[in-house]
């Protein structure tokens, strides 16, 4: 992995500070706790970008929760994408049949991945299936996704941090920022 002395230097603008994120996570946690009061809830997080959000959100929820993790292959992430189909790289570890399930996403932009995931999870017969995303970038939406819990609606910019990556780095930034254009311009493939 490439070593960078200061990841923050590659960020041109901080879109969401750590404090703003944490305040929103607490707000979402309180809403979810109230909405599911008296019930148990299964949080399903989608690797890898959702990990920080999932870790913070689950601790902001006060009702009993189970957690599970999934990983879905991304377009461009395989050598055979010209004929490839999305694949489940890591499936749920327990049944969700009859359970209240909340998908925890870091960001929704085109909605293609989430659309696939929703169809897949519906096939497992949960009692309810809802969506929670920290970031919503509607400008490039192809598939209309009914978002039940939305942290922030963000502009059409390429953002990194708090789980979001470019070329697998920047995930550990504690804020969400706009990556400087010169970092990715020039044709480098991540």
């Amino acid at each position: 992995m490439q070593t960078k002395p200061d990841l923050s230097a590659d960020v041109g603008e901080i879109l969401l500070s750590e404090d703003e994120i944490q305040a929103k996570v607490a707000e979402l946690g309180a809403r979810i706790s109230a909405d599911y009061a008296g019930r148990s809830l299964t949080l399903v997080s989608v690797l890898k970008g959702s990990l920080p959000f999932m870790a913070d959100l689950m601790r902001a929820i006060t009702i009993p929760v189970r957690i599970d993790l999934m990983e879905v292959s991304s377009y461009g992430g395989t050598a055979t994408e010209s004929s490839g189909l999305v694949r489940i790289l890591k499936d749920l570890s327990a049944s969700i049949a009859g359970e209240d399930v909340l998908i925890v996403e870091d960001i929704i932009d085109t909605g293609l991945t989430l659309n696939y995931l929703i169809r897949y999870l519906r096939g497992k017969n949960p009692a309810t299936l809802r969506i929670c995303t920290l970031l919503d970038k509607p400008a490039r939406r192809l598939v209309d996704i009914p978002v039940d819990y939305r942290g922030f609606t963000i502009p059409d910019q390429f953002v990194v941090g708090y789980g979001l990556d470019y070329g697998e780095i920047y995930r550990n930034l504690r804020f969400v920022g706009v990556l400087r254009r010169e970092v990715y311009a020039g044709g480098a493939e991540g």
Binding site: Y75, S82, L85, V86, D109, L112, R140, L142, G167, E189
Partner: protein
């Protein structure tokens, strides 16, 4: 075989369309390529003189998708067609995908280098990346289409005529010198 697993892809007009088809296939979104043509302008005799064929129809989402990854100046013409389509067919859901959207999509998928190759005139039909396109397009034909599109673009805004720029005049001269007399615009009604 489902639509998304087709072995013979349609002859895409632009390599970015072929890439979009691959993305849709990857995520299991059923698509059709230019299945419908919408008349958007008629003459006094009632004949259709202008129409619009969105690039993709995503049946499960009831959504049309139009790729506009050519040069920005040609986007104006497509925007006008899109406005007209929305006026005449308000129930039709259509999403315009600009070059910057496509570039951002490629960035997201770690294929930014591919974006430059697939956008603009460089990505027009005939690139090896476009499934279904087996023969490279004559560069003279691309030049002719570009000039004809630019002419159509100017004629669509008669209230604000502009003098040809030096660059435009040079392109016209080059196109006139290189295009065979028999070359005509491809028969793709309504597809800017």
């Amino acid at each position: 075989m489902t639509d998304t697993l087709r072995e013979t892809a349609p002859p895409f007009a632009h390599a970015s369309e072929a890439e979009m088809a691959r993305i849709l296939d990857f995520y299991g979104i059923v698509w059709e390529y230019e299945p419908h043509t919408f008349p958007i302008l008629w003459n006094l005799e009632g004949d259709v003189v202008e129409s619009f064929s969105p690039d993709f129809y995503l049946a499960e989402l009831d959504l049309y998708l139009e790729m506009t990854t050519l040069r920005q100046k040609l986007v104006r013409k497509k925007n006008r067609k899109l406005r007209r389509l929305r006026e005449l067919y308000p129930d039709v859901r259509i999403k315009l995908f600009y070059a910057r959207d496509f570039r951002a999509l490629m960035l997201k998928y770690g294929k930014l280098a591919l974006a430059d190759a697939l956008t603009g005139t460089a990505g027009q039909a005939g690139l090896p990346e476009a499934p279904g396109a087996t023969e490279p397009v004559d560069p003279a034909l691309i030049a002719a289409v570009t000039v004809l599109d630019a002419e159509a673009d100017r004629s669509a805004t008669p209230t604000s005529p502009s003098r040809p720029t030096a660059a435009r005049r040079r392109r016209r001269r080059r196109a006139a010198a290189s295009v065979p007399a028999t070359t005509t615009q491809p028969d793709r009604p309504g597809n800017a």
